[in-house]
């Protein structure tokens, strides 16, 4: 239809030097406004989490029943020293939310780190060794994938007992299959390539082949999945907290805060609204980032 393709030179003009990979990546990434917005939100939340001690106006734990259930400052009865109001036992909502960012980020990053480490090793082994080992690993992953994720997490927490660490373990196990599958699939494609053969011929052992040759070439999909995984981890951990199985009160975890606030839904809209909004914004930011990373890192989708 258009003539643009006709005018394009048959052979691409050689450029002086190829752009630095990071610069090229940023070029693709920054074209996606949503992803950039997500990145900025995440940076903001990270800063809040790091400097919570400085930023938060009050302690997230100290209770004061004389100021219980104060509305946000713009409503009648609110005061500017408690900008987002106070919870049923008089703790400052804003401070709890800021400290909650620390917990949620910690949960997301820890869970995904553990899951990626274990998942990548299992996936590498499955894809490299094949045979019975592969079948065993992949069947177990199938079972984990068959059960609804939250149900499985709940069961694990039921075995280990409620709590922050146990709920993190549960979520890490639930999202594990994604990384195993991803790593295995990437390894299987990579292993048949010439550079692996070359390395093998020059005497590289299986461990070196797996971790030094194959793994670096499988990182792109893992990075994308990591970003998306953090959002799942935060969401699932918050859901466990909401069900009373995750972080236990008085920890200012956003899901746990919602669970405490449930019975006040009729009287105090702010104790219910803000923690959930914090979860939504953070999770959305990580999903936006993940989408942007996928578009920027996946060569198949790159439009040159």
């Amino acid at each position: 239809m258009t003539t643009e393709t006709m005018e394009a030179p048959a052979v691409a003009a050689p450029t002086a030097t190829p752009p630095h990979p990071l610069r090229e990546f940023w070029g693709y990434f920054s074209a996606n406004h949503g992803a950039v917005a997500g990145l900025f939100v995440i940076l903001f939340v990270v800063l809040l989490a790091i400097f919570a001690d400085v930023v938060a106006p009050h302690s997230p734990y100290i209770t004061d029943t004389t100021i219980a259930l104060k509305p946000p400052f713009w409503q009648e009865g609110g005061s500017i020293s408690y900008p987002l109001g106070t919870d049923p036992i008089g703790r400052d909502m804003l401070s709890r939310l800021i400290y909650g960012a620390r917990l949620s980020l910690l949960i997301g990053i820890m869970v995904v780190t553990v899951s990626i480490l274990v998942g990548t090793v299992l996936g590498l082994v499955a894809g490299y060794v094949r045979g019975v080992t592969e079948i065993a690993i992949m069947r177990v992953m199938d079972i984990i994938l068959t059960l609804p994720s939250l149900l499985l997490a709940i069961v694990i927490v039921a075995i280990l007992g409620p709590g922050l660490i146990n709920s993190m373990t549960a979520v890490a196990l639930v999202i594990l299959p994604h990384y195993v599958r991803l790593a295995r699939a990437a390894v299987i494609t990579e292993v048949s390539k010439d550079y692996v053969m070359a390395a093998r011929v020059s005497g590289a052992g299986p461990l070196r082949l797996m971790f030094k040759e194959v793994l670096p070439n499988c990182t792109a999909p893992l990075i994308v999945q990591a970003s998306l995984g953090i959002s799942t981890a935060i969401l699932d951990a918050a859901a466990l907290g909401f069900l009373g199985l995750g972080a236990q009160p008085p920890a200012p975890e956003w899901g746990t805060m919602l669970a405490d606030a449930r019975e006040f839904v009729l009287r105090a809209w702010w104790v219910v609204t803000f923690p959930g909004l914090a979860i939504l914004i953070t999770v959305l930011a990580f999903n936006l980032l993940g989408d942007g990373l996928r578009d920027a890192l996946d060569p198949k989708l790159k439009r040159s």
Binding site: G34, R139, V140, D142, I143, L145, T146, L147, P148, S149, L150, L151, I154, V155, V157, A158, I159, G161, S231, L235, A238, A239, F242, L243, G244, L245, G255, L258, R262, V265, L266, W269, V272, T273, P275, G276, L277, I279, L280, V283, L284, N287, L288, D291
Partner: protein
């Protein structure tokens, strides 16, 4: 086709065995002795403890216990609830329709809104509508639905007083469960208000449970449509002078629906996860709430049976989706 079905079925067997193992070991992995766990904080005297251990067969070797367990499961005996003394299977059967009713409504809600939104977004690519649909769909996908439910209650029940806060039907009505689906049962009852009441109670839970599937379906429909609209046969159809509506509704949609059907099938796990949260928020008397309560009551037989049944149901639905997919698309059927 028969070969295809058989391969798929054979793949299920190890997974099912795995799930029975998971359910079986669940009760044995809990720290401490199952009897003590079941007895709870009240404690139990040693003689009775021994007796119960014998009754439950806990003094036999693990492998024998597992064999006995499998034998019972295959006969449909999933044990009794520690709390209600009711058979786990019976409890499941009475509560399951409530979850199914909610699940069907949620999926219908997601389909009715998601497919047209996805199609329109694809057809008007890069328009404001497209960006709006994609933005909303990512938001829906990121939604903590337990919070979403509370916010909807806050808006529609508390502020506007439009919808009830919890339950399946107003306490004024008693509907004899025939099918277990309250919408159907109340429609055929003599009470006219009952149907409306059941419907009212369904609205918010349906929206809450349907939000994530809606987001996924809208996104999936859009990308499948975009792919199909670039195909040669669409250009041919255009060249033949067919109307735009005909091209989209007949030629493109039919092919775009294949991946969407798969995604709908895969949503069942997501739906179940959602059902646990939705039922907790709205006190909906279904499987999700039942399982959560079982955890807090340390009702391990219920948990054990519940996992097994849910796992089996999810597996069966996935199998049906797989087979349908093979039926629609011969390319899948003939690979390997």
């Amino acid at each position: 086709m028969i070969r295809f079905i058989l391969t798929r079925l054979s793949l299920l067997i190890p997974t099912f065995i795995g799930i029975t193992l998971a359910a079986f070991f669940l009760i044995r992995l809990v720290p401490g002795d199952p009897i003590e766990t079941m007895a709870g904080e009240r404690g139990i005297d040693p003689a009775r403890h021994e007796q119960l251990k014998k009754d439950f067969g806990l003094d036999r070797p693990l492998l024998v216990q597992y064999g006995i367990y499998i034998g019972r499961v295959l006969q449909g005996d999933l044990g009794k609830s520690v709390v209600t003394r009711e058979s786990v299977l019976t409890e499941f059967q009475t509560l399951f329709p409530a979850t199914v009713e909610l699940g069907i409504c949620a999926i219908l809600f997601a389909l009715i809104l998601g497919i047209p939104a996805g199609i329109l977004a694809a057809v008007r690519r890069n328009s404001i509508f497209d960006h709006g649909v994609m933005g909303l769909s990512l938001t829906g996908y990121s939604m903590p639905i337990f919070w979403w439910g509370l916010i909807l209650i806050l808006l529609f029940s508390v502020q506007l007083g439009l919808t009830p806060v919890s339950g399946r039907i107003d306490v004024l009505y008693y509907i004899e469960p025939v099918t277990g689906f309250l919408l159907i049962d109340s429609l055929f009852s003599d009470d006219e208000g009952a149907f409306l009441s059941a419907l009212e109670h369904l609205i918010l839970p349906t929206i809450v449970l349907g939000t994530v599937p809606l987001a996924v379906i809208a996104r999936m429909t859009r990308s499948a449509m975009l792919e199909v609209l670039g195909e040669d046969y669409i250009r041919t159809a255009k060249a033949k002078g067919l109307s735009r509506f005909r091209i989209i509704a007949l030629h493109a949609l039919r092919n775009a629906m294949i991946p969407v059907v798969t995604v709908i099938g895969l949503q069942i796990g997501v739906l179940f996860t959602g059902a646990i949260l939705t039922e907790t928020i709205f006190s909906w008397p279904g499987i999700g709430k039942w399982l959560i309560e079982a955890i807090f009551r340390r009702d391990y037989p219920v948990l054990q049976g519940g996992i097994l049944l849910v796992g089996a149901i999810v597996m069966s639905v996935n199998l049906i989706v797989d087979l349908t997919y093979g039926l629609i698309n011969p390319r899948i059927r003939h690979t390997r």
